[in-house]
């Protein structure tokens, strides 16, 4: 049995309080990190093999090493807690149940990259989570883990909360920066990359909540230990959120690379009402869906990429045979249409048009040639958008069409579901 690391304490009474966190060994990693050279911390995180849990799987230590070393330039850390990818509910668990784990990771990260100020960008709907974070930050100041001269080390660090206000696109890192700067959340052109010119045009690291929550454990238990969990190229523990047609939906922490079959059947209790699995989305709705044939795929960045999909956020959405794939595709495209920031035409117009075609197919008003039209529209969007949202929308739809083209065609012809 895998012993949980990130979720170890979430069922402890008052797990969000600093005294409970301290009793369980909290803030020891910070004390250790403050005695290390910043480069030593970065090297440890590099050696651990940690890759970003926000979706793209970028090596975390490498990302940090891009930050210029010049101590006269202010630098920033932004924690991405915008958690909006449908099917994803992992960061919320950490924020509500073990906020100090995140805060400790953030302070260590600031120390490594030389940032004195960090922001947590939390989606506006997480009102309770933001309160929990606020209280935890206050506690950390009181105990001297935040503020000036932390643990007598001469290191200063402040963490502030920035609340979003309902815009999925602000999870995209440059849109997030725009939003902190008090603008509409529209992605920026890259380069310059945030590591050189990010928040307020200063060097900035943006990391996901789960990524930052791994840091104290890596410092405490060593890079080797972390690297030994799961596959060599994407090691560590991973939070898998399972939702949809399973008996036990919920959050499961398992080694990266655990198969979808094991997660869905052994941990999430299998398909409800003893039905058959029809499809599953491995990592939030942007990740193209897979079918029963792919159940033995290890859930890690590289194995899923090899299957033409992605680990994304690790939010697994399970569909049994009663699910209508046309409806799922329609709902998914409706989401992207709603969340398109409108900056570029292929995404803005393309998601709108595709959504309308999907809507009419779903309503039983599909026209001959609609499936081909969808494919053509995908081709007109893909690779022509400013940020990955547009491509994500296309990939999701293409995934559905790839495995269930017959079902779309049946819908168009017979004006109803196959089932």
């Amino acid at each position: 049995m895998f012993e949980p690391i990130l979720l170890k304490n979430i069922n402890t009474h008052d797990s969000h309080r600093i005294d409970v966190y301290l009793k369980n060994g909290g803030y020891q990693a910070l004390a250790a990190a403050l005695k290390m050279q910043p480069d030593g911390i970065i090297q440890t995180v590099k050696d651990s093999g940690l890759r970003g849990r926000g979706g793209a799987g970028f090596p975390t230590g490498l990302k940090w090493s891009f930050i210029p070393k010049d101590p006269t330039i202010p630098k920033y850390l932004c924690c991405n807690a915008d958690e909006g990818e449908p099917g994803t509910f992992k960061d919320r668990v950490i924020i509500e149940k073990d906020p100090h784990q995140l805060i400790e990771g953030m302070i260590i990260t600031c120390c490594a990259i030389g940032a004195k100020v960090a922001y947590i960008y939390i989606r506006g709907e997480f009102v309770f989570g933001a309160e929990r974070l606020k209280t935890a930050i206050d506690e950390a100041y009181q105990k001297g883990y935040l503020g000036k001269n932390i643990l007598g080390s001469n290191f200063n660090c402040d963490i502030y909360i920035h609340k979003g206000a309902g815009a999925y696109i602000c999870g995209e890192e440059t849109a997030l920066l725009e939003s902190i700067e008090g603008r509409r959340g529209r992605p920026r052109i890259k380069p310059p990359f945030p590591a050189l010119a990010g928040l307020y045009a200063k060097p900035t690291v943006i990391n996901n909540v789960e990524t930052l929550s791994c840091i104290s454990h890596i410092v405490n238990r060593g890079a080797k230990w972390f690297a030994s969990i799961g596959p060599e190229k994407s090691p560590g523990p991973k939070l898998f959120g399972v939702s949809g047609h399973v008996n036990k939906p919920g959050m499961y922490e398992l080694p990266m690379g655990t198969t979808a079959r094991e997660i869905i059947y052994n941990h999430a209790g299998g398909i409800r009402d003893s039905r058959k699995l029809k499809a599953f989305i491995p990592g939030g709705v942007s990740a193209p869906m897979l079918t029963e044939r792919d159940l033995d795929t290890p859930m890690d960045f590289d194995s899923l990429a090899a299957k033409g999909t992605m680990l994304g956020s690790g939010g697994i959405i399970v569909m049994d045979e009663t699910a209508c794939i046309v409806k799922v595709a329609m709902r998914t495209m409706g989401f992207f249409r709603h969340e398109s920031c409108g900056k570029c035409t292929p995404c803005r117009e393309g998601t709108d048009w595709t959504y309308k075609v999907l809507q009419r197919i779903e309503r039983g008003e599909g026209k001959e040639g609609d499936v081909e039209l969808l494919e053509k529209l995908c081709g007109n969007i893909f690779g022509r958008t400013f940020c990955p949202l547009g491509d994500g929308a296309v990939m999701a739809l293409r995934g559905a069409l790839k495995h269930f083209r017959d079902e779309f065609a049946y819908h168009v012809k017979n004006k109803r579901c196959m089932g």
Binding site: G87, G124, V127, G182, K327
Partner: protein
């Protein structure tokens, strides 16, 4: 006019940032908490406090969905209808609420007590179907649970 309390609160959040503009989102939220919705006058006042041109503030308010540009009821019910919730009956939840409240989605009851909206994923997919009423999440919804929740709204 915003109350002194809200103005004080806005001044306090300015400390978090190196410039005033960054406080625009917080300021709009603070203003909305007091006034319920962001009228042109309210946004003008926020712009004044932040020393920003009013169109810049309006642009921010228009972009983010949580800023109410129209008045909403005392209770704002927002039902997630994204994929995970939809698979477990979100449409039924919307219909059920609609029937109980006698309003369609997007509408407010005549007594201005309740507004019913449908929204995108709220990050609670493992406890679907779910809804948010003002700041609070209500998860694993059933008809009975909804009836109870509605009956307890003061």
């Amino acid at each position: 006019m915003l109350s002194d309390k809200s103005k004080e609160e806005i001044k306090r959040v300015l400390n978090k940032y190196p410039n005033k503009r960054s406080a625009a989102m917080d300021a709009l939220r603070i203003a909305q908490n007091e006034t319920g919705c962001l009228s042109g006058d309210v946004m003008q006042e926020v712009a004044g406090i932040l020393g920003m041109p009013a169109p810049q503030v309006n642009e921010v308010a228009a972009f983010y969905t949580m800023y109410n540009k129209k008045p909403v009821g005392k209770y704002h019910i927002q039902v997630c209808t994204n994929v995970s919730c939809s698979l477990l009956g979100a449409e039924h939840i919307v219909e059920f609420l609609s029937r109980k409240l006698g309003i369609k989605k997007g509408e407010t009851t005549p007594d201005k007590k309740v507004t019913l909206s449908v929204v995108e994923c709220l990050g609670s997919c493992g406890t679907a179907p779910m809804m948010q009423i003002n700041d609070d999440y209500y998860e694993d919804l059933t008809d009975e649970k909804i009836e109870e929740i509605l009956s307890k709204l003061p």
